[in-house]
C-alpha cells in the first residue's frame, strides 16, 4: 500500500458481458479494449443502456459472469477492493450517520489517525463545517461531495464515477465538475467517469471514450488536448463537441446542415 506501489494504470482486454433476459440473452459489452494511464482522467460517453455503467461495475468488481480481463496496476480485478473507489449516481450516504461518520464508514480499521483523515477529507471537499450534519440536511451537491470524500479516504488508485452529477441541477453540476477537477489536480487519482453529458465528458476528460449501444463497443476515442480549466465556448471545445455529437447523431444532423 506504499506510495511506490501506487500504480493506477488500468488495462481492459477483450471484455465481453452478456445478460440473460428471460430465455434469450443480451450482449451488454463486446470486445472492450482500453488502456488508461496512471493519473489520467477518462470520460466514457454513451446513450442510456449502452453498457457504460456495467463496464464501470465490472471494474469495481460488482459484476461477474463476464469474460476478458481487467487489470489495475499489476493486479487482476476479480472482486471489489479498496484500491478502487466508486461514486454512484445517488450519494448513498447512510441516513442515520452524520457526515463525518459517513466518511469514516469507509475506514475499516480503527486507528487514532481516523479522525485526522476524516477532517482532511472534509476539508478537501470544502465541508468542514458540516461534519455533524445528517445527510437529509444537505443539498444534493453537498451530499455528493461527502460521497467523494468517503470514496477518497482510502486513497484508491482509481476512482470510478458513475454519472455522479446526473441527478443534480445544471448549475450545481457545473460547480461539481470544477470541484472534481480541483480534487483530481490535488490527488492525481486515476479517474474514470461515465456520463451521458457530452459537455461534461469533454470538460473533464483527457480522452473521451465513445461507446456505441447494443452491444456496447468502443466506437471511438477522442483525445481532448486542451489546457484546463477549459472554456466550454472556445472554438476548439465546440469543435470536439461537434465531433462527438456527430458520432451519435450523424444521420439526423446532415439535412439540418444543408438547410443553412
Amino acid at each position: 500500500m506504499g506510495v511506490a506501489e501506487r500504480n493506477g494504470s488500468l488495462v481492459i482486454e477483450e471484455l465481453h458481458k452478456k445478460f440473460h433476459v428471460g430465455a434469450g440473452e443480451v450482449i451488454a459489452l463486446r470486445d472492450i479494449n482500453l488502456q488508461i494511464r496512471e493519473g489520467e482522467f477518462i470520460s466514457i460517453v454513451g446513450s442510456s443502456g449502452c453498457g457504460k455503467s456495467t463496464l464501470l461495475r465490472i471494474i469495481a468488481g460488482l459484476e461477474n459472469g463476464h469474460s476478458g480481463t481487467v487489470r489495475l496496476g499489476d493486479r487482476r480485478v476479480s472482486g471489489p477492493g479498496l484500491d478502487r473507489g466508486m461514486i454512484f449516481q445517488e450519494h448513498r450516504l447512510l441516513p442515520w450517520l452524520t457526515v463525518e461518520e459517513n466518511v469514516a464508514f469507509a475506514l475499516n480499521g480503527r486507528t487514532p489517525e481516523d479522525k485526522r483523515l476524516v477532517r482532511e477529507q472534509l476539508e478537501l471537499v470544502g465541508l468542514s463545517g458540516f461534519a455533524r450534519a445528517h445527510p437529509h440536511q444537505l443539498s444534493g451537491g453537498m451530499a455528493q461531495r461527502v460521497a467523494i470524500a468517503r470514496a477518497l479516504i482510502n486513497q484508491p488508485k482509481l476512482l470510478l464515477l458513475d454519472e455522479p452529477f446526473g441527478a443534480l441541477d445544471a448549475l450545481t453540476r457545473i460547480q461539481m465538475q470544477q470541484e472534481i477537477l480541483r480534487i483530481w489536480e490535488v490527488e492525481r487519482t486515476t479517474m474514470l467517469l461515465v456520463t451521458h453529458d457530452i459537455d461534461e465528458a469533454i470538460y473533464l476528460g483527457d480522452r473521451v471514450v465513445i461507446l456505441s449501444s447494443r452491444p456496447g463497443t468502443v466506437k471511438r476515442i477522442v483525445p481532448v488536448e486542451l489546457p484546463r480549466p477549459r472554456d466550454r465556448s472556445s472554438y476548439e471545445f465546440v469543435q470536439i463537441r461537434k465531433e462527438i455529437y456527430t458520432e451519435f447523431f450523424h444521420e439526423a444532423e446532415k439535412p439540418f446542415a444543408y438547410a443553412i
Binding site: A60, G61, L62, P80, G81, L82, R84, G85, M86, F88, E90, R92, L94, P95, W96, L97, F105, A106, N108, H134, P135, H136, R150, N154
Partner: protein, 263 residues
C-alpha cells in the same frame, strides 16, 4: 407579538381537537343517564365510574392491581423483546435459518394467546410463570416478524456500497442492517408492547388474586359494572401512556428519518 400569540392560540385549538371526541362521548354518556335512557346497572354513568375509581385509589387497591399487572407485562415483554430481537436478527440475516423456522412461526403465530392457557397451566402451574408466558406469547410474534421484515428491507444500494468499501460483516450488520431495520424494529416493539398489555386480562384469567384483569373478573362476578369500567378504562389509559413513551423513544432513535405527519 403575533408570532407569539398565534402559536399559543393554535396550541389551544389543537388541544381542543385532541380532547374533543373523548369529552363529547363522556358528556353524551352522562346526559343519556340523566335522561333515563340507560340503567346504571347496565352502563353506569361516568360520575359513578369516577367515584368507584376514587374508592379503589383511596383503599390502595388500584395501585396494587396496576403495579402487579404492569410488572407482569413488562416481564413478559422484556423476555419477548430479548428473544424476538435476537432470533429476528439471526433469521433476517440467514436464509437457511429462515427456511428452518418460517413454517413453525407462521403456524404458531395465529394461535391466540388465550388458547394457550390450558397448556400454560400444565407447564408452568397457576403461579406467575404461566401469566408471564401468556403475555410473552402476545408480544413475541409482532417483534420477531417486524424485525425479520426490517432486516430484509435493507437497501440494496447500501449492500453494494458496503461491498465496494469491503466493510467487514459484523460492521455491516451493526452500521447498515440494524440501523436500517430500526424503524421496523421499533414498530414491532410498539405493537408487541400493546399486544402484551392487551393480553394481561387473558393472563389474569389464570387463578389470579390481583392485577387489573383480576379486578375486572372479580367485579363481573359481583355485578359491579362500575368497577369493570374502571378496570377497562385503566387498561386503556395505561396502554396509551406506554405507547406514548415508546413512540418518544422511537422518535429519538430514528431522528434521521423525516416522516409524513399528515396535512
Amino acid at each position: 407579538m403575533t408570532s407569539d400569540t398565534k402559536p399559543h392560540l393554535e396550541r389551544i385549538k389543537h388541544l381542543l381537537q385532541y380532547l374533543g371526541l373523548s369529552a363529547a362521548v363522556l358528556v353524551v354518556w352522562q346526559g343519556l343517564y340523566h335522561l333515563g335512557y340507560i340503567k346504571p346497572l347496565i352502563l353506569p354513568p361516568p360520575t359513578q365510574v369516577a367515584a368507584a375509581f376514587q374508592d379503589l385509589v383511596k383503599s390502595g387497591a388500584m395501585t396494587r392491581h396496576v403495579g402487579i399487572s404492569v410488572a407482569r407485562v413488562l416481564e413478559g415483554f422484556a423476555i419477548a423483546a430479548l428473544l424476538g430481537l435476537s432470533l429476528g436478527i439471526a433469521i433476517g440475516l440467514s436464509r437457511t435459518l429462515d427456511r428452518l423456522t418460517d413454517l413453525a412461526i407462521q403456524v404458531i403465530k395465529p394461535i391466540p394467546p388465550i388458547a394457550w392457557i390450558p397448556l400454560a397451566i400444565l407447564w408452568f402451574g397457576i403461579g406467575e410463570k404461566s401469566k408471564v408466558y401468556i403475555i410473552f406469547l402476545g408480544a413475541f410474534f409482532p417483534i420477531i416478524i417486524n424485525t425479520i421484515d426490517g432486516i430484509r428491507q435493507t437497501d440494496h444500494k447500501f449492500v453494494e456500497l458496503s461491498r465496494v468499501l469491503e466493510v467487514p460483516r459484523v460492521k455491516f450488520v451493526r452500521r447498515v442492517v440494524i440501523p436500517g431495520a430500526l424503524p421496523a424494529i421499533m414498530t414491532g416493539l410498539r405493537v408487541g408492547l400493546m399486544v402484551a398489555w392487551m393480553c394481561v386480562v387473558a393472563a389474569e384469567l389464570i387463578a389470579a388474586g390481583s392485577g387489573i384483569g383480576y379486578l375486572i373478573m372479580d367485579a363481573r362476578q359481583l355485578s359491579q359494572s362500575d368497577v369493570v369500567l374502571v378496570g377497562m378504562i385503566t387498561i386503556g389509559v395505561i396502554g396509551k401512556v406506554m405507547d406514548s413513551i415508546i413512540r418518544r423513544i422511537e422518535k429519538r432513535l430514528v431522528d434521521w428519518k423525516p416522516s409524513f405527519a399528515g396535512h
